[in-house]
Amino acid sequence: MMHPLNTSKEGENIVVRCLNCNCDDTGRLNELGCVEGANGRILSKQKNIILQVGETRLAIAEDLAKSILVSPA
């Protein structure tokens, strides 16, 4: 079941399913390896989130995290 990234728990393994943000943000996330189908892990979750995709650690703002749909890995 898909859910917004910001609702994931710390330590959870996820799969990125859908990026619903605007073109610029989608492009930037894609370049950083956060593409649909990529496996990730929530390293830290406060207001913002640290998501590990591959070997990349991404700090993502809460608002942006709301527009990224993920599912449990």
């Binding site: 390896g33 406060q46 913002n48 070997e55 942006l64």
Partner: protein, 706 residues
């Protein structure tokens, strides 16, 4: 390889050790940035390979050729040969982080699409090994069709192999394997190429394919990078290409990315593997603490406190030595040269002015040393993450943290680093409040006044009152910046927010050679750039403070009984008259005419203040009676009142004025350049200086009456 000299470009994602490789190849000094996007400056150097001298260009870090920021665009323009200030590269070294291979190969495949000779350099092999990642460079080389060289630049491993790979490369046959776009994407590329780029643009041949992909992904061209004569045709072609993709059920924004990653995944499968379970790395463990909701900001504040305490305490012995050196040097020149105007100019103008600059080098070196360590370890990006929530609340952006932190060193690189903030409103607010951050130019003034007027009482057994005051001034600057940003947030329209996305690099021990080199470079820049101006202004000021000469008869007739002839001479000089003229305006904030002269000259650059005071207080000194400026300030007596010129209230008022006033011509010039308008620098100068006056007034009046 041809025996002709080549231009070799280094390109790679931020934090891949590009600068370290550049340093290893060229031996030249350069700036390292461990924070994504901060490597704005281009660096060039030379290296000898096989007896041939080649030029090396270190291009700004970029995640892809789909540039979003100015620095990325410069990298792109250079690679495709259309950047007017740079030679067209003959060879590209793509630097990739071996511990994060797939992500780094994204840029590599884009560069390969430019049909240029490419060597893939897998850096940080040691970190990859530590993380249990095994890479078969030969297999990746075969899969990509380009030479692949594994190295560990930090440990200087593999540099010779890299040089040999460059030497052995056949430049005439760049034949990298290419990813094959899907049918739908291929058709879209052809549409944009045939209907727009080839017939209507001057996009260089090698860049056409990649430019078509960029346009399809972005949906339109919105900057006049190329002089498009018929933009309407281009927009139609792009829309048509995107529709083709959408009709096939795909997303034109993501299609290229997905297909590239599929290609990369095919290339690295079997060539790169991770041993065992994903274990909790050291970076994970450190991040759990330093990015913690409560501990994170507390650690950030502690780091700042430690940094400023250390700057103040550790630098003191060196400063005392320099001070003594200039005092003794001044005495020696005064006694060696025959008496005369040149003697006075050298001792009271040049030596005093120069001494006022050089004395602060230890503190500036310590400040930059800490900043480079924070960058080099990867902590800067965490600081941005930790502070983003707070920053957003006050009208700034998480990305503002790095420009603001850079502002501790100097507002100018900070203002330039604000380019990484994509949203105009966030960017302009960051620029407008950035000069409140206590830059290194304020440091000499703070250091002088604190050392002279704040007692060195120990607090909590570890800190001194002087160190805490010093820290307090930095915090005061931050608080004022935050308050000003909060006000500006209400004034400026919101517009579209740019969300915070940032890569957090792995923690690593900084490359000490680079930290020391860069720190020394900053010290050199301070002496050569600021120093030249300070010494020049000191000389002019010495003349203004020495002429017209007041005679002994005039002194005897007009001076009060407590006034010395030197003080009388200064008061009657051009500078003295000017200081007296503005004295009524600055008296309410506790300043006398001597401080007034220093304030005026410090509008050129803040650090000029100390040189000016040094010059003013040296005028008329007898040979051999040179004492330090600190002592002169403490002992300065107002001849009219008979009281000390500098009280605690004056010192605090002066420090507050310096903390808030916009006294830097270079900052004003850079704000004008970055905003392309005089509106912002004028507004900045006006509101900051007015605020400084009001706050100094309140502080002086309150403390005086207390």
């Amino acid at each position: 390889m041809s025996s002709e000299p080549l231009t070799i470009a280094l390109v790679g994602n931020p934090n891949t050790g590009k600068s370290t490789i550049f340093n290893a190849l060229t031996g030249l000094r350069q700036k390292i940035a461990n924070y994504p996007g901060i490597t704005v400056e281009r660096k060039a150097g030379t290296t000898i390979i096989g007896g041939v001298l080649h030029k090396i260009i270190d291009l700004p870090g970029a995640y892809s050729l789909n540039y979003k920021k100015l620095d990325e665009r410069i990298a792109y323009e250079t690679l495709i040969g259309s950047y007017e200030h740079e030679e067209v590269p003959d060879l590209v070294l793509v630097i990739a982080d071996a511990s994060n291979l797939d992500r780094n190969l994204y840029l590599a495949t884009q560069v390969m699409d430019l049909n240029m000779p490419v060597v893939l350099v897998l850096n940080m092999m040691d970190i990859a090994e530590q993380n249990g990642i095994t890479i078969n460079a030969e297999k990746i080389s075969k899969a990509l069709g380009i030479p692949v060289v594994p190295i560990s630049a930090k440990n200087k491993e593999g540099i010779e192999t890299l040089k040999k790979a460059i030497q052995d490369l056949d430049l005439t046959k760049p034949d990298p394997l290419k990813w094959v776009p899907s049918k739908a994407l291929n058709k879209a590329i052809e549409t944009v190429l045939d209907e727009w780029i080839e017939p209507y643009t001057q996009v260089p041949e090698r860049a056409r394919y990649i430019e078509a992909l960029r346009l399809i992904s972005e949906g339109e061209f919105n900057d006049p990078f190329y002089k498009f004569e018929q933009p309407g045709v281009g927009k139609k072609a792009i829309a048509k290409a995107r529709k083709n993709i959408e009709d096939e059920g795909a997303n034109p924004v993501a299609l290229e990315v997905l297909q590239r990653y599929n290609f990369i995944s095919d290339c690295t499968s079997g060539a790169s593997s991770q041993n065992g379970q994903q274990k909790r790395t050291l970076t994970d463990k450190i991040d759990a603490v330093v990015t913690h909701k409560v501990a994170g900001p507390a650690i950030f504040a502690l780091i700042l406190l430690f940094m400023f305490q250390a700057i103040f305490s550790w630098a003191t012995p060196f400063m005392d030595m320099i001070d003594l050196f200039f005092v003794e040097g001044g005495n020696w020149i005064a006694n060696t040269l025959p008496p005369g105007m040149l003697n006075d100019l050298l001792v009271e103008g040049v030596i005093a002015g120069l001494g006022g600059v050089v004395i602060f080098i230890p503190q500036i070196l310590f400040l930059f040393f800490f900043i480079y360590i924070l960058e080099g370890t990867g902590y800067m990006a965490r600081a941005a993450f930790v502070m983003d929530g707070f920053m957003t609340k006050v009208g700034l952006h998480g990305r503002s943290v790095v420009p603001l932190m850079s502002g501790f060193a100097c507002a100018i690189p900070g203002i330039m680093a604000a380019r990484t903030i994509e949203n105009w409103r966030d960017r302009i607010i960051t620029i407008m409040v950035l000069p409140f951050m206590a830059c290194s130019a304020r440091l000499p003034v703070y250091a002088l006044l604190i050392a002279a007027f704040i007692p060195a009482t120990t607090v909590l057994g570890v800190f001194t009152l002087q160190g805490i005051t010093f820290f307090g001034l930095y915090i005061f600057g931050i608080v004022m910046a935050v308050a000003a940003a909060a006000v500006m947030k209400k004034i400026f329209p919101t517009g579209q927010q740019t969300p915070f996305i940032m890569e957090l690099p792995s923690y690593k021990i900084p490359t000490w050679a680079v930290v020391f080199q860069n720190t020394a470079e900053r010290g050199k820049v301070f002496v050569t750039e600021a120093g030249k101006i300070i010494v020049a202004i000191s000389i002019v000021l010495w003349f203004l403070a020495s002429f017209p000469k007041a005679g002994t008869e005039q002194y005897e007739a007009e001076a009060s009984s407590t006034e010395t002839i030197e003080s009388f001479q200064l008061r009657h000089s051009f500078a003295g008259k000017f200081g007296k003229l503005i004295e009524p305006a600055i008296e309410p904030i506790g300043f006398d005419w001597k401080i007034g002269i220093s304030l005026l000259t410090s509008f050129a650059a803040r650090e000029v203040m100390v040189g000016t005071l040094n010059t003013i207080y040296s005028i008329g000194e007898e040979d051999g009676d040179h004492v330090t400026l600190k002592e002169k300030l403490i002992n300065d007596i107002n001849p009219e009142t008979g009281k000390p010129v500098y009280s605690i209230a004056t010192a605090i008022s002066l420090m507050i004025f310096f903390a808030l006033a916009m006294q830097c011509m270079s900052t004003i010039a850079i704000v004008k350049r970055e905003t392309n308008s005089w509106k912002w620098p004028v507004a900045m100068f006006s509101y900051m200086t007015a605020l400084a006056y009001i706050c100094s007034f309140i502080a002086f009046q309150l403390i005086s009456s207390w």
